[in-house]
């Protein structure tokens, strides 16, 4: 009012001043002096204070009973499938053959339907080029949300969870990891010398392939504690998992998101990876595009 409008600091600068973000900066004193003599800017600062008060005064919103019931039911269902997964883990995978039904039953109900259908179709055409076109839709969401550093979706089994039985080496890891997270057509790639059987479609039957030494890490809880050991915190969701070998030794390739979206972190761990023991064999940052 008293001074020309052009002298006003911007709204952002006033917000920063209000939040104490300008403390110690050269501009702080100037803006403070301006606000002290400018009614409109002082009003805006007061408005910020009022806004903060109103936000703090918003009432609590208890969870509605129907939502609470729904979540209780989902957790009960999860507890049941968790229990059956434990029951099944012993007899499974002698020669790497797990009945599809029991492998599927570890998925929560709402994932199971879709992936069972996809897996069924995929098995019919296993080995054929183009299998991934059928599953790419599912995997895309898993990859995207994982890249966003999410750690919580119920479809976390939609991450690329493969048991390729490939033998990775330090020379081939980067390409292999890019294939896991980026290339929709990994199943159609020329198999590595070691994988004599037809490549399995991604996610079709992850419990049935891969070295048996890695069986323990197929448990979501065990895998989660391994990942937590690597990252130092719980809840990071891998972009891709491959039960494979590294330099000829059984190893799990765990691909994690990085703060830099242009790269991913490739962790190679042995069968012992768990809380307190990463059993780390190799670690590498891999650019998403090679």
């Amino acid at each position: 009012m008293n001074e020309p409008a052009a002298d006003h600091p911007g709204i952002d600068a006033l917000c920063d001043l209000d939040a104490g973000l300008l403390a110690g900066t050269p501009g702080e004193a100037d803006i403070q002096a301006h606000v002290a003599g400018c009614a409109s800017c002082a009003d805006f600062i007061a408005l910020l204070a009022t806004t903060r008060e109103q936000l703090a005064a918003l009432p609590a919103v208890p969870m509605p009973p129907d939502v609470a019931e729904r979540i209780d039911a989902a957790l009960a269902s999860e507890a049941t499938s968790d229990q059956s997964a434990n029951d099944e883990s012993a007899p499974a995978t002698v020669a790497g053959v797990t009945p599809l039904g029991s492998a599927r039953s570890r998925r929560p109900r709402w994932v199971r339907g879709a992936s069972a259908v996809a897996a069924g179709i995929a098995l019919l055409v296993a080995g054929a080029v183009g299998v991934d076109a059928l599953t790419a839709g599912n995997e895309k969401s898993g990859t995207v949300s994982g890249a966003a550093e999410g750690n919580s979706a119920p479809n976390d089994r939609a991450q690329r969870d493969t048991g390729s039985a490939r033998n990775y080496t330090s020379a081939t890891l980067a390409d292999g990891v890019r294939a896991l997270v980026g290339d929709r057509n990994i199943a159609a790639r020329p198999p590595q010398p070691k994988s004599a059987s037809p490549p399995l479609p991604l996610g079709a039957q992850p419990d049935a392939v891969g070295p048996p030494d890695l069986r323990r890490l197929r448990s979501p809880a065990q895998l989660a504690s391994c990942v937590a050991e690597l990252t130092g915190r719980a809840g990071v969701r891998p972009l891709a998992i491959d039960y494979a070998t590294y330099d000829g030794e059984p190893a799990v390739i765990i691909v994690l998101p990085d703060a830099d979206p242009a790269v991913v972190q490739a962790w190679v761990v042995g069968p012992g990876c768990s809380t307190g023991n990463p059993d780390l064999r190799h670690r590498e940052v891999v650019p998403r595009t090679g």
């Binding site: 052009a6 709204i11 009614a39 109103q54 918003l58 989902a74 966003a148 809840g235």
Partner: protein, 206 residues
């Protein structure tokens, strides 16, 4: 602003029993996780609802988050308080949803339009202000909104919010600062029946 809820950063008394519940759940106690959920679900619900601005989406996100926490609990190492860990999972579930629906505009909470005050301006009661705030919140970019929800609405410290959102403390402060400014501008027209034109001049003219 730093009036953190109990036990979140440094682990006050309540955090220990949360941790015991997590450990019990990991050890196979079938009741433990349900107790943990019951203990914190109201607060987590409020965070999800205000972050997403949509009841159904918030319910979906919370369900996703609790399932995820159920599975991940075995790997919880106690580096942060259990409540921080739970909030982190819930907020990430919310952000996941927002990013997936990025093409769609954010839906405001029911009962209010994003652009219009729900009542004539001179009749703004407390409830209408709340609705207006919800509507204005829905118009913030998700990065600002999630920070404002945690710090300004739910009273988490900047430090804990930084852990929950996995960003630097300075980033939390600046997102809150800018988000507040935006809210203030959005709400100004509602709050002041005849807003003096100079209220908005600073941003326009500089």
């Amino acid at each position: 602003m730093d009036g953190a809820p109990e036990g979140v950063v440094t682990g006050a008394p309540a955090a220990d029993s949360d941790l015991e519940l997590v450990r019990a759940h990991a050890a196979g106690d079938p009741e433990a996780f349900g107790e943990l959920v019951r203990r914190h679900r109201d607060r987590l619900w409020a965070v999800a609802l205000r972050t997403l601005g949509d009841r159904e989406e918030a319910a979906d996100a919370l369900q996703d988050a609790f399932i995820s926490a159920f599975r991940a609990a075995a790997g919880f190492r106690g580096d942060s308080a259990v409540t921080t860990w739970l909030h982190r999972i819930v907020v990430n579930a919310c952000l996941d949803r927002v990013r997936r629906r990025a093409a769609r505009p954010v839906a405001p909470l029911p009962e209010t339009g994003p652009d219009e005050p729900a009542e004539p301006r001179d009749a703004m009661g407390e409830r209408d202000i709340r609705l207006a705030i919800d509507g204005a919140l829905a118009r913030l970019p998700i990065e600002q909104r999630s920070a404002i929800v945690l710090v300004d609405i739910h009273g988490y410290s900047v430090a804990e919010t930084a852990v929950i959102l996995d960003i630097a403390e300075g980033t939390v402060k600046s997102r809150c600062a800018r988000g507040r400014g935006r809210l203030a501008v959005l709400l100004a027209g509602i709050r002041n029946p005849d807003p003096p034109s100079d209220v908005e001049k600073p941003g326009v003219e500089s």
